[in-house]
């Protein structure tokens, strides 16, 4: 009889060979064509799940294939080790987050080895180690010097259960993505990285990236959301200051029948002082969350303020309303409403019995009834005085010119993209390297005092970061003047670690630089594989961070990932395989079978 197939023996022998022959360890060889093959690295939750197995296998297949084409292939693996689950586990199991995390890493590394993936384990990167995060602290101080980071009081999404600030994308239908608690709007001082400084570059480069799927590029473009419009001002009856609004449809100016301001707008506050109803409404708005996706679907509410603006062209009085769908943080915190030609404005006008005027007619001459249905397409101007008959572009320019010439407005470019808020009020993360001194305000930690090491032997209680209660961590001398000062106890958004790890694999052991010449050899990543859920944030942050490193002189590379493969989810019985749903299949079981 022929030799039988014994999987356990076959697997063990193959793996033993690869280990002994160091088959997947690669150094920088200028005589060979390099190929950097990378999977989005995992959070060490404890056990591999099927989504992991699928994505790691896809990447492994690609790595092995390119090796057979004669290329010098780097496929590294590491751990995105900071994050909230470690704290939650700490509370549940009475074990410090660090200890829980390191144990998970050991277990998962074993699982990965059992699957026989082709990794160069010498380059393993673990983001919760100081030898890793010291470099992002260092870069942060450099960014501080250049004005690329700043501190600002801002309205944020406060998750009352997880006791932390959430990014807009972490708020789903007004609730926290992990806690499911109703999110509150609060003002808190936070550190921001100036992603908007790179908005145009991040947008324009998308046109030169053939290795990315169109769908992802579209998502990035929409997220950056560059729009060209006009900023123009309306005088306000009884006020000295004009009301400034931004619009991408100046051609519809004659159709303005009301204005709407955000709850936090000074004019709303003024009206609130005289009216308890308005004050109550304003307070309600402030409490509900600031996520844009919610704005689109929620009920549009508003109240008249009893104040009027003067239409800059017709001289008509235009009533002001306060509305829950206007964001103080977008544009000027006030909008001109054209119910005839904007869907949201139309719905609001119908609900609150505000006048709806038609000022655009279809270019093909067909009839429309603006009272029955809003007309949002561009067309030909009507009921617009001297601008009648013009098309969109002509009208845009004529009206923009008018406002620029009379000094009442200007053409501007607006972005949907906001600067990246990186502060988190959590313990298990990279300490933000700032010291607060009563005299010197916020002072970056000097290079020679980095890293600011996160203490690992702590007890997490669930009611705020333990760092706040550790004088040995908090108390420090001001690097500037020497007086008693306090360390920042907030930590970085964990997306900071995942914004540069791909470059660090090239030189994981360097203790003299964030990136050295080995990064110049290996980067950019030739094939990047991961879940499509990261199509916006992680990829955008990485593209931004890469450019920051470039402008700090660490690298010549601008685009971190040349080819991108986004994988689909693993389903069971039609639903996403999810620990929360309890419908997972454990890879470990399959391995043993």
């Amino acid at each position: 009889m022929t030799t039988p197939y014994k999987p356990e023996i076959v697997e063990q022998e193959a793996q033993q060979h690869w280990v002994e022959a160091r088959s997947f360890e690669v150094d920088e060889d200028p005589n060979k064509e390099k190929f950097y093959c990378l999977t989005m690295f995992p959070y060490p939750s404890g056990k591999l799940h099927m989504g992991h197995v699928r994505v790691f296998t896809i990447s492994d297949v690609i790595a092995r294939y390119h090796r057979m084409l004669g290329k010098h292939v780097l496929q590294p693996m590491g751990w995105d080790a900071f994050g909230m689950p470690a704290e939650n586990a700490a509370i549940r199991n009475q074990v410090p987050p660090a200890e829980w995390t390191y144990k998970n890493i050991e277990d998962m590394r074993g699982q990965l080895n059992r699957l026989g993936y082709a990794y160069d384990w010498r380059r393993e990167v673990t983001t919760c180690r100081p030898d890793y995060y010291r470099w992002e602290q260092w870069l942060f101080t450099k960014m501080f010097e250049k004005g690329l980071v700043y501190r600002k009081n801002s309205v944020v999404n406060w998750d009352p259960v997880d006791q932390t600030v959430l990014a807009n994308e972490q708020v789903i239908d007004g609730r926290g993505w992990r806690s499911d608690a109703l999110v509150e709007r609060r003002e808190i001082p936070q550190w921001f990285m100036k992603t908007t400084a790179y908005a145009d570059e991040l947008l324009d480069e998308l046109d030169r990236m053939p290795g990315w799927p169109d769908s992802v590029k579209t998502m990035q473009r929409n997220w950056i959301g560059r729009s060209e419009g006009v900023e123009l001002s309306f005088d306000v009856k009884g006020e000295n200051d004009p009301l400034t609004v931004y619009t991408t449809r100046p051609d519809t100016l004659m159709g303005v029948t009301y204005m709407a301001v955000a709850a936090e707008h000074p004019l709303a506050a003024k009206a609130a002082a005289d009216s308890p109803e308005i004050a109550a409404f304003v307070e309600e708005c402030v409490k509900t969350d600031a996520a844009e996706a919610t704005l689109e679907t929620m009920e549009k509410k508003g109240m008249p303020l009893g104040i009027s603006a003067i239409h800059p062209m017709t001289g008509d009085e235009v009533p002001l309303w306060v509305a829950n769908f206007v964001l103080m943080s977008y544009g000027t915190g006030a909008v001109m409403a054209v119910p005839g030609h904007d869907e949201r404005d139309w719905e609001f006008a119908k609900k609150h019995a505000v006048e709806i005027k038609q000022v655009i007619a279809p270019a093909d001459g067909s009839e429309i009834d603006i009272q029955e249905q809003v007309f949002i397409e561009k067309g030909v101007l009507v009921n617009s005085g001297e601008y009648d008959g013009m098309d969109y572009e002509t009208a845009f320019n004529a009206i923009a010119d008018y406002f620029e010439e009379t000094g009442r407005g200007r053409r501007t470019v607006n972005y949907r993209l906001r600067d990246w808020g990186v502060s988190r009020q959590r313990y298990w993360g990279t300490p933000i390297p700032i010291i607060y001194c009563d005299d010197c305000d916020a002072v970056p930690v000097p290079e020679e005092d980095l890293p600011v090491v996160l203490p690992e032997d702590v007890t997490v209680t669930g009611t705020g970061s333990p760092l706040k209660d550790m004088p040995e961590f908090v108390n420090v001398a001001c690097p500037n003047c020497g007086k008693d000062a306090r360390r920042e106890t907030d930590t970085f958004d964990t997306f900071v670690e995942s914004s540069w790890y791909f470059a660090r694999y090239a030189c994981p052991d360097s203790d003299t630089a964030m990136l050295d010449e080995r990064a110049a050899y290996w980067t950019p990543v030739d094939q990047y594989t991961g879940g499509v859920e990261h199509a916006i944030l992680h990829l955008l942050y990485s593209r931004f961070f890469q450019r920051v490193m470039r402008d700090e002189g660490l690298t010549d590379v601008s685009e971190p990932f040349t080819n991108l493969l986004t994988q689909g989810m693993v389903l069971k019985d039609g639903a996403k395989m999810s620990k929360n749903k309890g419908n997972t299949v454990d890879p470990q079981e399959l391995i043993s079978r």
Partner: protein, 214 residues
């Protein structure tokens, strides 16, 4: 997992799918091991192969081209695995213990082992040794694609119009009726006699002639 769906789409987990994969691996194992245990293999001489051997060789190289494209350009792992399975089926159907037959089979089996190794590296590592190699599969290059293996024999057919000889066409040996008809009608010499006329019937005698009735 690579077989069940293309990477960008969601993958419906199926326990039966896992069983199916395991059965395939066992068939794969035995195909290679049975072949290896049947004795040494002589060198392949592409010039002296019979039709069936040429057909298997053609399949091997078509598969090399297809899988290379699936892995290199399309990131389509499920179709790559499917193509390898098809080649393995062809190998299993191939029943030829002659020296030339075994040589062609050996080339086919080695190709499958190499091409499946990115997806199933462990079993391929072992089978590479079984097939007589001392160097490890991990250091092996992707199989070379031999374009000449794809060449199809051409045969010449006589073309008649209403029974009278009007032209000749060369068609691939495995062309189907529709392809033969099209080639016959398109022939320049034949066109002179059918131009402007209604074609009422086309009779194809495979391997011999085409008669166009107008």
């Amino acid at each position: 997992m690579m077989f069940a769906a293309p990477p960008e789409q969601s993958l419906e987990w199926s326990d039966e799918g896992v069983q199916g994969s395991y059965r395939f691996l066992k068939r794969f194992w035995h195909a290679a091991v049975d072949h290896a245990e049947a004795g040494p293999v002589t060198a392949l001489d592409p010039a002296s192969l019979d039709d069936a051997q040429k057909a298997l060789r053609r399949k091997t190289h078509q598969t090399i081209a297809k899988i290379g494209d699936d892995l290199g350009r399309r990131n389509s792992f499920n179709t790559a695995v499917a193509a390898a399975m098809e080649l393995l089926n062809a190998i299993n159907k191939f029943d030829d213990a002659s020296d030339a037959g075994r040589a062609v089979e050996h080339e086919a089996l080695e190709a499958v082992v190499i091409m499946l190794s990115p997806m199933t590296p462990h079993i391929c590592h072992a089978l590479w040794q079984q097939l007589g190699h001392e160097t490890a599969l991990i250091d092996q290059q992707w199989p070379e694609f031999d374009e000449s293996a794809l060449e199809l024999d051409m045969i010449e057919l006589v073309v008649q119009v209403n029974g009278k000889l009007r032209g000749r066409v060369a068609v691939p040996a495995d062309a189907d009726k529709a392809a033969i008809e099209a080639l016959a009608i398109a022939d320049e010499n034949v066109q002179r006699f059918i131009d402007g006329k209604d074609i009422r019937k086309v009779i194809v005698v495979p391997g011999r002639l085409v008669n166009i009735v107008v």
